[in-house]
Assembly symmetry: C2
Homo-oligomer: 722 residues x 2
Amino acid sequence: MRIITKSFPYIFAYLLLSFAISFQTFANSGYDLWLQYKLIENEEVRNNYKVLIDDINLSGDSPTMSIIRKELSKGLGGLLGESPTFSDSDANEASLIIGTPANAPFIAGLNLALEEMGEEGYLIQRHDAGGVQHLIIAANTDIGLLYGTFHLLRILQTNESFENLEISSSPKIQRRILNHWDNLDRTVERGYSGFSIWNWHRLPNYIDQQYIDYARANASIGINGTVLTNVNANALVLTEEYIEKVAAMADAFRPYGLKIYLTARFSAPIEIGGLETADPLNEEVREWWKAKTDEIYEKIPDFGGFLVKADSEGQPGPHNYKRTQAEGANMLAEAVAPHEGIIMWRAFVYSEETPDDRAKQAYNEFVPLDGKFNDNVIVQVKNGAIDFQPREPFHPMFGAMPNSPLMMEFQLTQEYLGHDTHLAYLSPMYKEVLDTDTYAQGEGSTVAKVVDGSLDGHPISAIAGVANIGSDRNWTGHHFAQSNWYAYGRLAWNHELNSEEIADEWLKMTFSTEDAFVETASELMLQSHETIVNYMTPLGLHHIMAWSHHYGPGPWIKDKHRDDWTSVYYHQAGEDGIGFDRTAEGSDALGQYHTPIEDKWGDIDQIPEKYLLWFHHVNWDHPMESGNTLWEELVHRYYDGAEAVGHMRKEWDKLEAYVDEERFDHIQQFLKIQEKEAKWWRNACVLYFQQHADRPLPEGLEKPDKSLEYYMSMDPKFVPGI
Amino acid sequence: MRIITKSFPYIFAYLLLSFAISFQTFANSGYDLWLQYKLIENEEVRNNYKVLIDDINLSGDSPTMSIIRKELSKGLGGLLGESPTFSDSDANEASLIIGTPANAPFIAGLNLALEEMGEEGYLIQRHDAGGVQHLIIAANTDIGLLYGTFHLLRILQTNESFENLEISSSPKIQRRILNHWDNLDRTVERGYSGFSIWNWHRLPNYIDQQYIDYARANASIGINGTVLTNVNANALVLTEEYIEKVAAMADAFRPYGLKIYLTARFSAPIEIGGLETADPLNEEVREWWKAKTDEIYEKIPDFGGFLVKADSEGQPGPHNYKRTQAEGANMLAEAVAPHEGIIMWRAFVYSEETPDDRAKQAYNEFVPLDGKFNDNVIVQVKNGAIDFQPREPFHPMFGAMPNSPLMMEFQLTQEYLGHDTHLAYLSPMYKEVLDTDTYAQGEGSTVAKVVDGSLDGHPISAIAGVANIGSDRNWTGHHFAQSNWYAYGRLAWNHELNSEEIADEWLKMTFSTEDAFVETASELMLQSHETIVNYMTPLGLHHIMAWSHHYGPGPWIKDKHRDDWTSVYYHQAGEDGIGFDRTAEGSDALGQYHTPIEDKWGDIDQIPEKYLLWFHHVNWDHPMESGNTLWEELVHRYYDGAEAVGHMRKEWDKLEAYVDEERFDHIQQFLKIQEKEAKWWRNACVLYFQQHADRPLPEGLEKPDKSLEYYMSMDPKFVPGI
């Protein structure tokens, strides 16, 4: 190297670039998620931003305002290669002004239309004050400003333009929550990315940096609540010792606008309260819950409330005392009501005795209770009536309980979607459900409108996503699984976003803004869900995975102590055909949907083929849209799915130049595993169903290289997720 | 910022510095361990190094040579601010030449004394070739070169001088091994830093970057072997499915000189082999082990061998068939012998029926077998005769079996040393044992000489450290616990190093080379072990921790199904005094030591006070060196220990300027926890022993603020470490 004289900023940028490249080329664990803040490589783009954000005026000194300051230093320092200056004294001099009317006179003086923005919304605008150009972020609260700041940074991260900037954003759903199925021993039920990031043993005295980083990541996408504990609950978390631990976390999360909720074990009054009953109508029990709730709010004044799984899969509940779900929920609702807490009461209730189609049971139990829940109870309903299958038609409870607020429960963790190693971008799956019309109040009554409360004018609204977060260094196991955390947060804020734009944002923020990269990687993401459906459960098949751990195919599962946990119960494959008859001739689950749907989906020729075998038992020779018979179509779907994974893998290989070595290799290895496992699914299912169909494979398809017996004998040990 | 014209290197350095500071000031998870490779801030020092290492000649293209190249790029890039150039074609032009005589003609031409360096040793020298100065790293193998490279980088990391450089280094112990007590479900027995980093489920198809980083870290300190699985073993790891997984890891570790060993469950022939017995003299059993071993070596040609815990704490072993430990070990030794494998047979054997002082049992069982083990068996002996207590006198087996190689087993994980949150630098503890004279062959027969094989001229030698590594983002839970991994590796290579220089190296490489920092932090480390001994088990007390999870004090533990798992068995506190009488009047465990020790330690007035209550039952009023009575001295030790932690915490607070925010806060919070828990230990133990001593606290000491009953009723849940 020789002496060079060039303008400082030029060299600065050049050097930062080399430095960043030399380090990032090798090692990137993915821990920084979509907040990579890599230097914007295009100098012109960078300079355009710099002019608009070279000096910042930021009012207020709350912990949240400190976070905003730190985030801007980090974000702009990374993206633009230089940290911004903060001239807090004089807003007139600043190029970027951030404040609420309460703490920033300059903002107050603008008389912005902030009333309708609520407690979390924000405005980002350009403002001309006597010839001086300002960029402003305004909100009613500091949290609103934090959300606005992340939005601003996102604009830079995705290299969007500031021209004609006029952003007004507030969330469509009030409570945007992650559900952690984390146990106190740090195992995670259906968790495939290591173990729980909550180290209960070290709490309350040690606040891990990762808790802060978790809160920050959630704030960056608008998630404002988290249920720390598994729905299969342990009452211990409600003891004094654990409440202190929870309170320490709440203190750490608060400046990020993240509220804590806990799961309440219905039998806690017995287990930790020393009572002899947990009967919701028993006065002692009611008093116990009130006292316990007061104790929690004493330590955590903004505690969000409880999530309850009752009378389901072995969990205790009001059924034990011959009480209704409403009586159970209302008891808890009364306890939290004085503190403005809510109860999220899960509708995932079905009987161990399997008296009726499992798909119908939650509806049958809850719909008659419509209107009987207290105002601060919200019923948490899974997207479909069975259990987070690769594809499910929307749950018929949406649109069937106009007098009760219902919240959506999505699963981010890939319990039925290939666990840790399968690339599944789930926004299209979430959107498919949210955008479906329930016809509850005529056309346009989408599931989304039920959930955001607008259809029936409910004052509370919420959405939950079962987290895919664990102790893996990249949080989510698969790097692409980070996109589901991201997409969930973005959709919870605004369900009108589409999957393409979310994928686009996430890819740019996480990996690279290069068009060639984004185009290919985005296509790969957008096709991924359909691909998995094809190699696992095409045409409306469901619940045919392996026993217990749900890893791999298991269409042969039968003769267990619960019929509704077997595969044969769901696919009903036989000589005559395949599929679960849920029409009026069958279980009549279709009768739970509003008429236009019941009629259309009840007609074997009108129902979308993706739901066919969910609702109909269909002859193997039934002609499909493609001209194939059902048998041929089924087999082709399996083969197409597996082949598509090979295609994904090859497409990824082309992107090596755009991604650091560590993450590129990681994803490459996972795609190889996925390809292998897609073929495992394909072969096992095709061979199994062929037994029943008694028909040859369509011509031109390579035969499975192993026998059905081989696949049936596979017995993987220590599958993660307990 | 304005345009500045300065020489490029100056600006370069300045900018890198700012960049590094701005990023490292906040976030440093500690994942990079002692390989931080931070820019050397002193420009003069930096330039001195640059002159000597600006151009590198590196011969050979093995995977290990590629690793050397990458490490130099990363290391020098970080330390000097610019990556080196590699001019591989012409050694005469290079300032640094790295090679073996076999692959580098230049090195071959120097006729260096490499014969005595063995397969792992290396030379680092300066060489004048006709006026041209070269620095050379030479070794007989690529692995030797890798070790030499890490040594060279360490010189830079610790800012040592290159003047008069003449390094010749080879390991004193052949097999330097980590023992992972990791289960296949990823729990870690006595692991306090999260869960196992081995993700068995994703193997063999996914090699996590962390496996590579693990191998690299080990290579950097000379560790050349790892036992992947818990000594409380699961036979499943010996099945075909798991052998494939192990083989994939072996492939990843091989270029780093790291060999894999496994634990062998003695009953595996029954559990996975379908045999009806595991009798080591049964021909079928012997054949099964041979076939199994052949199968392993087929996949892993350099497999190291087996570690076995037999007939101990519920593990099956030769006792089940009335065979000796030698018969058990030799059966396995025969199986691995054709492949040059070894068997590490643990001496940690003691009876469930407690027929004799537990401290004596391993000696009694093994010493009579001296000379009966096959040549490729090495007996693995814990440093002390009980179980990794905060302080133990050396195990009497060292020096008692001249005809058998013995290896040392140290514990890095802090089972009895405060678990994850206590700062305990263990090099002084390791050194105390290694440097003790056994007098086996007269004065100078130190434990270290037994272990390195030099005392009795054994052809094999080994050392094991029970790993403290887990899924925590910094590997070891406590940042300072990284120093034990480091110190263990350094001592395994060269047990003549002293604890001060190891602490010094580690601090400089891990945090900062500033004198003010190193001085204070080093003192803190060097006092830490003695401090813990004081607040937990002063004056030779041992095994008085809480039941089962061993978290916190439990001197009151009694009436369990095994006496030798209770505390009262060990401390024997009563009206008359305290301590376990192991003299000739007592259990005579002292009789297992050679005469000079037996005599000295058997004399209550000559025994070092640190071992007093280990070997003597002593009256409460016994006068101590300090002039205190035993009771007063005991209490003072507890109080001194707790107070010293307060001092450590305050000292750490002074170091804020030298450490990034994340690690500084982490350690600060842990020291607060340690201070709290040191008082917990102090109060609980003092109150408990006071019951027996029936004497007041010495004057001037603050009284415990809680009652003994309070401490006895504490019942922490879900303590890590299973």
